[in-house]
Amino acid sequence: MADSVAPAATTEHAHSHPDYVQHHFHDATQQRESSKFGMWVFLVTEVLFFGGLFAAYAIYHTWHPETFHDAHKVLDWRLGMLNTFVLITSSLTFALSIRYLQVDKVKVALYNLIATFVLAGTFMVVKYFEYAHKFHLGQLPGKYYTYTGLEETVNPHVFFSIYFMMTGLHGLHVLIGMGVIVWLIVRTAKGHFHSQYYNPVEVSGLYWHLVDLIWIFLFPLLYLIA
């Protein structure tokens, strides 16, 4: 008889929580919805964070249209194009990894996460070569600008200030994303994720798509404004 009384007294804690559901959530659905919603709110802050730079871009492009037009020719649009392709593919592999987790194909999901990491690395390598080239030529922001190829242009360093700040901040986000992907790879390999629980992969995927999306705006605004 005692057994039948005990659960009634602690109804709240009695319903079984799988270990992946934190104690303060009622069930897995509430947890999943909360984490997704939280990530969306965080992405809003990211959009506004970059929004400051996009506003700066809009203002300075309006004030110095010729500068932007002349200076952007220094950038190699083929490298930008390559990176756009690389990043979009990485978004695809990330999305696939989530899909494979949903159908419990954990191994394939793991391969897709590794592919995402490799593609993100490729993006950074291409970016490294672009940056190194500009450092070499002195196409640098503000007072460090020493390039001599744009003598006719007024204030060409303004363009490079904007270029380095925007791509630099974006690159930082790619690096942070790579760190997150490593964490996901380790946890997937340990078998933490399955069709009932894949929140961290899903919300990190949202973040990764935003990073991808920001690049899709940066690419034409910086490389293709002729």
């Binding site: 709240e12 709110v41 965080f42 506004l48 970059f50 929004g51 007072k143 200030s161």
Partner: protein, 577 residues
Amino acid sequence: MAVNNSATTTVQDAPRSALAVPASRDSKGLPHPNYLSDGGKGLWSWLTTVDHKRIGIMYLIVVMAMFFVGGIYALLIRAEHFAPGGQLMNADQYNQAFTMHGAIMTFLFIIPSIPAILGNFVLPLQIGAKDVAFPRLNLASWYVYMFGAAFAVYSLVTNAADTGWTFYTPYSTETGTAVISMTLGAFILGFSSIFTGINFIVTVHKLRAPGMTWFKMPLMVWALYATAIIQVLATPILGITLLLLILERVFGVGIFDPSMGGDPVLYQHFFWFYSHPAVYIMILPGMGIISDLIATFSHRKIFGYKFVAFSSLAIALVSFIVWGHHMFTSGQSEFAVMLFSFITFMVGIPSAIKVFNWTTTLYKGSISFSVPMLYALSFLFKFTIGGLTGIFLGALSVDIHLHDTYFIVAHFHYVMVGGTVMAFVGGLHYWWPKMFGRMYNRTAATIAWAFVFVGFNVTFFTQFILGSQGMPRRYWTFPEEFTRLHGFSSWGAMIMGVGFGLMAITLAWAAFRGRVVGSNPWGALTLEWTHATSPPEPHNFPATPDVAHGPYDYDKVIPRVDEPANAGVGHARPANA
């Protein structure tokens, strides 16, 4: 107060009210279990806790330490102004003193004060949740706060920034003082604020107890929700602005430098696009506290609940499009200036809706002049003065005369100290028995309130007069003719300092030695009082509360004033008596 028969039956609904009766009491008379002594022992259990209540207490300790540092600077500034320049410090030190006062009070005290301390503590309790949505993120926000505070303190002890808390370019890119560590500190503190904001938004959306509909939420929750929206939408802009300022200073990117094709006014636009909404990050949660206090201590349903709730959201939205009124003299187009002036007047509408609704709630209420209520009433008085002088400043012609004078200083201190700090301190006095299960000495707390109230008005009302006579803000020295008014203002500050000191001692003593109280000493109707013990147990409620009535249904329910039965400590008497 009209009470009908059905109300009386609700009161005697024993099973529900019994929820707030502790299972047992420990040797000190406090409920067992409670989050203070049963959530793990020792310093390490606190530093690694994910309990929103403990995180609130951790914020309380560090934020109050910062309030103390900022307050010391305020007293130094006022002591310097007993007579024209050179009483205590030279002009450079004075510039550093007012910068540190402003930066510490803004970024380290007032922004985190209500959301991070009281919000963390009461928000989950008020909506019947076990915790915030992301407890670990909540703990992270505290560590991020500490990290940011370390940078600010580094600036303070090395070569304190002297730019004013607004860090205007070009001076901030040229001065030799430690601007970078201060701005980096503010940048990092922004993340702490964003984490709290995300947590609150998700918690309010997803973790409300069954039956806790949006319009059954206490107005404190509405206010915290509106605040969280601003925190999330505005703080990233400050982040990128301060980052640009740091890049400008370190790499000379030229974005704010006219000689390199940039524009310093752009900095002001960016800065105020954050910092004006930030003013509402500071005042909105205070308005939430006042709504709860006025209803509780008038024992009357809040007048116009939905208007008060939605006016918070209205203020949050309008706050994003008024930033230009900080820059009426910075060279904007005439059209922009007129538009900003007009929209600034509009902010007066939702603010006035709140003030009228609070006043109407008092009307025919059964008012207890408990200590929190004294703060709430002084909020009404001072916030109204602060708000109305804001309308003066929003008027273009008047602003040209008053811009950058002590009138501005007095105006925003009436809103920030007379408004937010009074609400915050009122909230502390209100929830203190919930936090610690103990009541402070009412006489001492009332005396402290009187000192603060008198001292505040002597300090800052005088500054309205100083400003309208033309005394510019941020000046180290002044003409002889202002000595009397400045001296008067400084004496007011000293009185206020004594008041805050007495308040700190009263509250600190009460936390450890105060009379043990029951679950609901004020006779309030929100869940943290009706369903949780004082102090609450580690997971807040014995069972998920079922929300049977609205937060202010004093017309339907007579709340039980709980006192500990045979607690063995102190003597039971209603705190409201």
